[in-house]
Point group: C2
Chain length 154, copies 2
DNA sequence: CCGATTTAGTTGAGAGTTCAATTACTGCGC
DNA sequence: GCGCAGTAATTGAACTCTCAACTAAATCGG
């Protein structure tokens, strides 16, 4: 029989955890809703377009795009299929690896992104940065980097 | 014609935003996956059970449950249907408002929650609190509370 | 070089979420 | 009381995401 003492959360941790949960959920939901309303796409799709737009020649291997956009491969595959149907992304064969596919942001996709970006950035500013002091921004960055680092190991 | 200067993000804000996005997504994905694997339910369902378990008599009006669990009404409705099918929740008529429904956590549901909680709490501790100093926990709580407060207005 | 393992990417099914429409009831104003 | 705006909750369709299974190609060990 397995018997391990659970390290329950202290009241302070409990409060922190619930606040964090509520805040990040509300923030993401709000931004997602705004993006859906103004640009007709979920935030996950927006991020795919952003990452592609920053890549050299606006091209990225599927697996690399999955990594930087925080998607599973399967999710990315489905998403790119939709983005391709919308005409915002095209798939190309990889010349050096015949298993590979390269996602390429089209001009239409870039235009779409350029049109959506100001509104979205305004949302991020309004709902996140306008609420925080410079010191808190610094703290949040540090905390997020520590967490990201730790979660990458797992 | 609408013409508003976009207040773009500074490099520091950019970095913070992306880190936060990556970290919170990774954290939620990890906890969701663990909960799905160990308890066969997504985190959203787990939270519904938690909130019910804390309510007087383990009963809560649907709309109130939606509020505290951060669900839309529609989402909650679908979710409770599933939880009801699993035998963890029952719906009852509200005696004071004939439009109302009351969600009631069953004994099976409570047992299920009690079984799932230690593993989940361990995950929260491992992936979140073990990575942060007490000062950072304090900072994160404060930041989250500010954000929650602001997002509630919108 | 060859079989075994690993990696890249896709696919389909099932599960969860969203959005808009719908039903039913409450409570307000007159 | 009566009509009417607002509230409670559900529903179905469309969409997104997850998981496991699958194909195909690269790579590794002998």
């Amino acid at each position: 029989m397995m018997l391990v003492m659970t390290r329950w959360l202290t009241p302070d941790e409990q409060r922190t955890w619930r606040s964090f949960l509520t805040a990040s959920r509300a923030l993401m939901d709000t931004l997602d809703r705004e993006l859906q309303r103004d640009a007709g796409m979920p935030h996950a799709y927006y991020e795919i377009l952003v990452r592609l737009s920053e890549a050299p020649e606006r091209r990225l291997r599927m697996s690399e795009l999955a990594d930087v956009s925080g998607s599973s491969r399967s999710r990315l595959s489905h998403a790119v299929s939709r983005l391709e149907a919308a005409g915002w992304v095209r798939r190309e064969d990889c010349p050096t690896d015949r298993r590979g596919q390269i996602a390429h942001l089209t001009d239409d996709g870039f235009a779409k992104l350029a049109a959506a970006a100001p509104g979205h950035v305004e949302g991020v500013r309004e709902h996140l940065f306008d609420a925080l002091s410079p010191a808190q921004v610094e703290q949040l960055r540090h905390i997020s980097e520590v967490l990201t680092e730790r979660l990458k190991r797992a």
